[in-house]
Symmetry: C2
Subunit: 467 residues, 2 copies
């Protein structure tokens, strides 16, 4: 590709134009299932093709299949941002093609990970005793936390496994009924089985009831079952509720059970003055996951696991075949392959470092605070409305709400489809206390008051037509 | 970042210059452990900083810590390439920030994955019955294959797990003594325990002895142990040996045991005329992993799992919480979150698609054949030398060799350090039959005969000085 320079400049312009205003496109892709697949040939070309032809197909065939997570009207799930320094860092990272399995295969990725995770750790107020490691997703971070808990809680599990052991009547992991599905997937993968996961009932504000957790652990222990770990959630996926981490940490300390805090979405909010309370007690947790790719403007993917007992993760996974042995071992060097299931690691720390420097602590706090202000504003409209009502408290940047007056799921679902068909906004839903609930999630840097207002207008207009 | 456009153009120029000649830099980073970390501040800046200042620190502090995987003299581990269409695709992918958990959250990533994996599948000659899915690394691909084997082989494992079950005396996974450490990590993570992994002895050319595999399975079954899976390797990490997949497949069919083929490095070579034999029998495997980020010029990371029984992967992992339910379910849409532990997926298919189109089948075959020619050439020099001798056959692009005349590990290790200190080449080592062995791995698109010649000159000069 002798004309890499030319093509890179072309792409730089295209991306700059795209980022100037992603709202030129409908937020939710309008292609039919199979439409993109069917528009492309069944086989790779025999001869190489010029960039112009490839890019023309990108624009013609692929672009209509993009759901625009960059769109200021993206309010579904957790809204995210590929910030510009993050995009540039990914461009550079792809070119450098670092593979950070060993310190020597990428000293820069290894050490910048340590530095940038130290910066983030102090911003959210976690003690230095927490060592950080970058994974791709929160699912993988939580999996490693629970693998470490299993390593500590089940004697000789690395060698002997779980099957055919007379000494193991059963093992148990606890989380709130509102915890993320990644906890289920982790216990399944770890061979504990889904029945090993006890979901503790929540209170009226969707927070785990610590007293019920204590009871469950006591009862299991009395029955000869080993309590391995508790997962507390700071910012649950449905309602962004915050489990009482402090009370849960006390129980875990008393019971000597691993405490993992899932702060994937909301953990970063701890850097905002007035929000420090959300991580109260987390300093006594064993591990905590926070995802800069969720609400810290980092292009997907970058999840961080902070762990006070990274030795347990290493004990579970470190394994160095001959062909990866090096002479730096003696100098106390970190080899990232020792902290996980994946051998290879790409250079993700670069984007976090560039983002932290570009925005500065001040800029990040300001952006998070503004998202929370917009959410409170929207919630105030809901509160004052005769069509809608709030379905949950709004501690962060997500508003859960529903139609007033015992309307059916079908009504809500039709309403959601109607506003999403506009192309201007994309909201998603969940279920709370059995009710179908709409969610408006704010997290994109381009989202301003006018976009939230547009969502509100669409909702009220469409709701009026429902009657 | 109002000047994104300007910064992107600056970076395009910088990267173009860098890619023009990465050999201006020493291939192996020359920083001391801790040097980068200590050169950076302990805290994130309070105020945001301009791109110029951030990039100046990148060049001054970070760049010296880069080990240049792009360097034409990178011959360690498996040499790789961030090809230019791949880098451009990653730039575009970062900007689009797709998150392909559900079809609707990124129809383009979901369907382009299907299309580009179909292209690759037909290039390497696997039947259409193999469905493909993209993960980050081969470790994760193999983990999913073995999780699916566990799902099939252990009744009710998803719900009941492995612990405290009277019906499970033991379970077993088999691989060659030369299989990759990712197999160990997978059995540990899955709760089978490292003792559940039986490593079958290899023959004189480092290939699994199928007869010994058959014996081991029969003996285990007689002892009440459940044989879950066999991992055959096509291109083992140390010597790139090829297990007899055809014979192993026959055994697995007869014993009804899951066969997973680890072709992470060498699988792509099956597209080269004359190399089709390497996947003989793989059409009867249950799953196969191949890594375009290894020897198909794709920036790290992109690993592909092809599976004839993707239903088993879905059975093990599919789990849809309310907030991710959509109405497209009925149309037979693929939701990528159902095929794995990770909920989120970034848009990796874009780079594979752009690479396949840029090079075309012809270009890819030619590049792979040239790497194999260079390896054979180097091997012929070794063969004709009175200083060195080959330590293994050379079926692909890796040459294993050592000093003649029973030289010590220490001699080999000093030789390796001497050539690596040149800055012109980076080789690694392994151990075969107890011997310390040097490895020269060719896989970078910039590597030409002159670079291989330079490695040879450095080796022979340094070896002469050893005496």
């Amino acid at each position: 590709m002798s004309d890499f320079r030319e093509n890179a400049h072309f792409l730089a312009d295209w991306i700059a134009r795209y980022l100037d205003d992603p709202s030129r496109y409908p937020v939710l892709a309008r292609v039919r299932p199979g439409e993109i697949r069917d528009a492309l040939p069944r086989d790779a070309p025999e001869r190489g093709e010029p960039f112009e032809r490839i890019f023309a197909d990108f624009e013609r065939v692929l672009l209509p299949g993009v759901t625009h997570w960059n769109h200021p009207g993206f309010f579904a799930y957790f809204a995210i941002t590929a910030s510009e320094p993050g995009i540039l860092a990914e461009f550079l990272s792809a070119a450098l093609n670092q593979q950070a399995m060993l310190w020597r295969t990428s000293p820069v990725a290894t050490e910048l990970e340590e530095v940038s995770l130290g910066w983030l750790r102090r911003l959210i107020g976690l003690p230095d005793a927490f060592e950080g490691v970058i994974y791709d997703t929160a699912s993988i971070s939580t999996l490693h936390a629970l693998a470490a808990a299993r390593e500590i809680g089940v004697p000789d599990v690395r060698r002997a496994g779980l099957a055919g052991r007379a000494d193991l009547a059963g093992v148990r992991v606890y989380c709130s009924e509102h915890a993320h599905s990644s906890v289920d997937k982790a216990v399944i993968l770890l061979g504990l089985g889904q029945q090993a996961l006890t979901r503790i009932p929540a209170d009226a504000e969707f927070r785990m009831q610590a007293a019920l957790l204590a009871e469950a652990i006591r009862a299991d222990r009395a029955a000869g079952v080993i309590p391995l770990a508790v997962v507390a959630t700071v910012g649950s996926t449905s309602s962004t509720s915050v489990d009482p981490v402090d009370a849960i940490a006390r129980i875990c300390e008393h019971e000597r059970v691993w405490l993992h805090v899932d702060a994937a979405y909301a953990g970063v909010a701890a850097m905002v003055p007035g929000c420090e309370w959300i991580l109260k007690g987390a300093d006594r947790a064993d591990s905590l996951v926070v995802n800069p790719h969720k609400w810290l403007f980092t292009p997907f993917d970058l999840s961080v696991l902070y762990c006070r007992r990274m030795d347990a993760v290493r004990q579970a996974f470190a394994l160095t075949p001959e062909y990866l042995k090096t002479s730096e071992g003696e100098a106390g060097v970190r080899n990232l392959m020792d902290t996980g299931i994946q051998l290879g690691r790409r250079f993700r720390a670069l984007k976090l470092w560039m983002i932290l420097r570009h925005f500065g602590a001040e800029g990040l706090r300001g952006a998070l605070a503004e998202h929370m202000r917009l959410a409170r504003l929207f919630a105030s409209w809901v509160d004052a409305s005769d069509q809608f009502e709030l379905a949950a408290p709004v501690p962060f940047s997500v508003v859960c709400f529903c139609l007033k007056g015992h309307r059916t799921d079908e009504d809500h679902s039709r309403l959601l489809d109607a506003v999403n068909a506009s192309g201007d906004v994309f909201l998603s839903h969940t279920r709370l206390d059995g009710r179908y609930v709409l969610r408006l999630a704010i997290g994109n840097l381009r989202t301003a008051e006018l976009h939230v207002r547009r969502a509100w207008d669409l909702l009220t207009e469409s709701a009026a037509l429902l009657r």
